[in-house]
C-alpha cells in the first residue's frame, strides 16, 4: 500500500513536470473582446472524436500529430462590420507535445516571419504560430493592413497567455548546416504526411508510424536542390528492416553495405544509408558525389550527437 502511494506521488510529480500544460482551459487563451473586437456567437470546441465535423478529411492531418482539442471562435473586428469579409477566425489547436506542434507548424513555412510566440508566419490574411503544445491559426479574409495589425495583436495576446516554451524535435539537430535551405525542414511521423510532401510510394515502404520520427529538408549544394529524409526508428532492427525494404521495393537493388546509391530515372541518383537506428535518404541529385557528401555530413552529425 505504501509503495503504491509512493508510486502514485512519483507518477504525479513526473507527469506535472514533463507534460505541457494540457489542462489549460482553451477558452482562457482566446483574445478578449476589446478595441473593436466582438465575438460572433459562442466558441466551439472539438476533440479527437468530432474534429471531422469541422475539418472533414483535414482532421486526419491533425490526428497524425496527436491532436487533443481545438477551440474555434469568430470575431467581428470593427463595430460596424457585418459583412463576411470583416470577420476573423481564431483556431487554437492543443496538441499532445510541443514536438508534434512544431511538426504541424513546419508543414508550410512560407510567409513573413514575425517575432511572435516561438515561431510565427503571416501571409495573405493568415497568421500561424507555434508555442509549446499550441498551434494557432488566425484568419482574416480581408488582407488589409488594419486586419493584419489586428490579427497580429490577437496572436500576441494568445502567445502571452501560453507561459511555457516548447522544445524543438531533437532529430532536427542532426541536419547539417551546410547547404540547408532555411525553413525547408518538415517534421512528421506518418507515411501520409511524407506522401503529401514528397510522394515515394502508395504503400508504406519505409515502415513509418507514430513511433518513427522523420524530417524532410532541402539542401542547396552546387546549384542543385537535394531532398534529405532522415528517419529515427524505435530500434536498430526496424531501421534495418526498412533499409532492406527500401532497397528491395524502391531501388530494386539490395546492398551488402550500409550505404546504397542507385541511379534512377531522369539521370538522378538516390542514396540511402543505415546508421544504427536511423535511416538517411537523399533524392534529386544528378551527382553521386553530392549524395555521398550529404550522407557523410549526416553520419558525422549522428556520431557527434547532433548540434547542441
Amino acid at each position: 500500500m505504501r509503495w503504491e502511494k509512493i508510486f502514485f506521488i512519483l507518477f504525479f510529480l513526473f507527469s506535472w513536470g514533463c507534460v505541457p500544460e494540457k489542462t489549460m482551459n482553451l477558452k482562457n487563451l482566446l483574445p478578449s473582446p476589446k478595441n473593436g473586437l466582438k465575438k460572433i456567437e459562442s466558441s466551439k470546441i472539438y476533440n479527437r472524436e468530432n474534429l471531422f465535423d469541422y475539418l472533414d478529411g483535414g482532421a486526419e492531418l491533425y490526428l497524425a500529430y496527436d491532436f487533443q482539442k481545438l477551440i474555434v471562435q469568430k470575431y467581428f473586428f470593427s463595430q460596424d462590420a457585418f459583412a463576411q469579409k470583416k470577420t476573423l477566425t481564431v483556431e487554437i489547436f492543443q496538441m499532445h507535445s510541443s514536438l508534434d506542434t512544431y511538426g504541424l507548424f513546419s508543414l508550410d513555412q512560407d510567409g513573413e516571419e514575425l517575432n511572435v510566440a516561438q515561431k510565427a508566419l503571416y501571409g495573405y490574411g493568415l497568421l500561424k504560430l507555434w508555442k509549446d503544445n499550441y498551434f494557432v491559426r488566425i484568419l482574416n479574409m480581408e488582407g488589409t493592413d488594419e486586419a493584419k495589425e489586428m490579427t497580429i495583436k490577437m496572436g500576441e495576446e494568445i502567445s502571452e497567455k501560453i507561459k511555457k516554451q516548447g522544445e524543438l524535435p531533437p532529430l532536427l539537430s542532426f541536419l547539417p548546416e551546410k547547404g540547408f535551405v532555411p525553413k525547408s525542414d518538415r517534421y512528421f511521423h506518418k507515411i501520409t504526411i511524407l506522401n503529401h510532401l514528397y510522394f515515394l510510394a502508395n504503400k508504406n515502404i519505409l515502415n513509418l508510424s507514430e513511433k518513427t520520427n522523420a524530417v524532410l529538408a532541402d539542401f542547396k549544394i552546387d546549384e542543385q536542390i537535394l531532398k534529405l529524409l532522415l528517419i529515427g526508428y524505435p530500434d536498430t532492427l526496424q531501421a534495418k528492416k526498412s533499409f532492406s525494404d527500401f532497397n528491395l521495393l524502391y531501388l530494386k537493388k539490395q546492398s551488402m553495405d550500409k550505404r546504397n546509391i542507385v541511379k534512377v530515372e531522369e539521370g538522378k541518383f538516390v542514396g540511402v544509408e543505415l546508421n544504427d537506428k536511423y535511416l538517411c535518404l537523399v533524392f534529386e541529385s544528378d551527382d553521386v558525389n553530392l549524395i555521398n557528401s550529404l550522407l557523410d555530413s549526416v553520419k558525422n552529425k549522428l556520431k557527434s550527437g547532433g548540434t547542441k
Binding site: G57, G111, H196, F199, N202
Partner: protein, 319 residues
C-alpha cells in the same frame, strides 16, 4: 503488412510511365511515357464543359446574374440545346425528388450557385418540397431551407437516407486540393453522403474513393455534376490558406465524375506550375481518379477521350 511487388506503385513507376500513365501525364510526372504515347482508338467519348466569366467575382463576391447566365450556357452546351430551360427539363421531371449534394466544409459551395441550381429545378417543374440541399447530416428542404439546412436524417447501410429518398442527385462540390487524396472534387464529395468516410481516408492516397461511385444510389441517381471552380484552392487543403486560393471564375459541368475530376485536376496542376513557374507536382498523386476509371470502371480519366468544351473568358484557362 504483407507487401508484394504488384501492389506497390512508386514515384519511379510514375516517372517511367509504367503505372497510372494517364494520371502521370495529367500531373506531369510521366515525361518518359509522354514521348511514347499514341492517340487512342476511341469509341466512346465524354464531354466536360468549362465556362468562365471575368466579372463573375467582384472583390470575391459572386455576381448572381452572371452566374445564372454561365450555368445556362454551360447546360446548353453540355446537352446540345439552345434553350436554358430545356436542358433542365430533359434531366428532371415534376415527379422527381432531387438531392443537391453541396460541400459545406472549408471551401464551401457558393450560396449563389446553390440558389441558381434550386431556381432552375423549380423552373423545370420540380416541387419545392421535393428539393433537398444537403451535406453530411445538414439537410435543407425546399428553397426556404437551402442555406439553413437544419433537418437530420438517419443513415442506413452507411448512406444518409436523403440519398435513398431522392430519385435524382446533383453533385456540386467545391474545387480544392486535399492533403490526403490529392484533390477533393466530385468523387470525394460523396464522402459527405456516408457516415463511414474514414474507411476511405486511407494511407494509400485514398485509393478506394472510386468505390463510392459503385454505390447503387450514386450510380443510378446522379444526373449532373456542377463543380464550383469560382475560387478554388490549389495547395494544402481542405483547410484553407488564402495564399493558395485563386479567382478562376469558372464552373465545370459534366455527367461523368471521373472525366470532370480529371479536367479539374489538370487545371489545378497547371495552376501550381504557373504559380511557381516550374513543375510543382501535386502530392499525394490523386490515384483515386485513375482507379475510378481502371479499377472501378465508372468513367474515363484519359484526357484524350474527353471533349473539353471551353466557353467564355479564355485568359489563364490553364487547359
Amino acid at each position: 503488412m504483407k507487401k508484394t511487388k504488384e501492389e506497390i506503385v512508386t514515384r519511379r513507376d510514375f516517372i517511367r510511365g509504367t503505372a497510372f500513365t494517364t494520371l502521370g501525364l495529367v500531373l506531369g510526372l510521366s515525361p518518359l511515357a509522354f514521348s511514347q504515347q499514341k492517340p487512342p482508338l476511341v469509341k466512346k467519348r465524354t464531354k466536360v464543359v468549362l465556362i468562365r466569366d471575368e466579372d463573375v467575382l467582384k472583390e470575391n463576391e459572386v455576381d448572381k446574374e452572371i452566374l445564372v447566365r454561365m450555368i445556362g450556357e454551360g447546360m446548353c452546351s453540355l446537352f446540345n440545346t439552345t434553350e436554358f430551360a430545356s436542358a433542365w427539363k430533359r434531366l428532371f421531371s415534376p415527379e422527381d425528388i432531387v438531392g443537391v449534394k453541396i460541400n459545406v466544409v472549408m471551401t464551401p459551395t457558393h450560396n449563389e450557385l446553390i440558389g441558381v441550381i434550386v431556381d432552375n429545378l423549380l423552373a423545370a417543374g420540380v416541387k419545392d418540397e421535393n428539393i433537398y440541399v444537403w451535406d453530411r447530416n445538414e439537410i435543407g428542404q425546399g428553397k426556404a431551407e437551402m442555406f439553413t439546412r437544419r433537418k437530420k436524417m438517419m443513415y442506413e447501410d452507411n448512406l444518409n437516407k436523403v440519398v435513398k429518398k431522392c430519385t435524382a442527385l446533383i453533385n456540386v462540390p467545391g474545387m480544392k486540393t486535399h492533403w490526403l487524396s490529392g484533390v477533393a472534387l466530385s468523387i470525394k464529395n460523396w464522402c459527405g453522403a456516408i457516415d463511414n468516410a474514414y474507411t476511405y481516408h486511407t494511407e494509400d492516397c485514398c485509393a478506394r474513393l472510386g468505390a463510392l461511385l459503385k454505390i447503387p444510389e450514386m450510380k443510378s441517381k446522379t444526373r449532373l455534376i456542377i463543380v464550383d471552380a469560382l475560387r478554388p484552392l490549389f495547395h494544402g487543403g481542405p483547410e484553407v490558406d488564402p495564399k493558395y486560393l485563386w479567382n478562376y471564375n469558372g464552373i465545370l459541368l459534366g455527367i461523368d465524375h471521373v472525366a470532370v475530376d480529371t479536367v479539374g485536376l489538370k487545371i489545378i496542376q497547371n495552376k501550381r506550375n504557373s504559380y511557381l513557374n516550374k513543375p510543382w507536382s501535386l502530392f499525394p498523386p490523386p490515384t483515386h481518379i485513375a482507379l475510378a476509371d481502371t479499377k472501378y470502371k465508372v468513367g474515363t480519366s484519359d484526357l484524350q477521350k474527353i471533349d473539353i468544351v471551353k466557353l467564355g473568358w479564355e485568359k489563364d484557362a490553364l487547359i
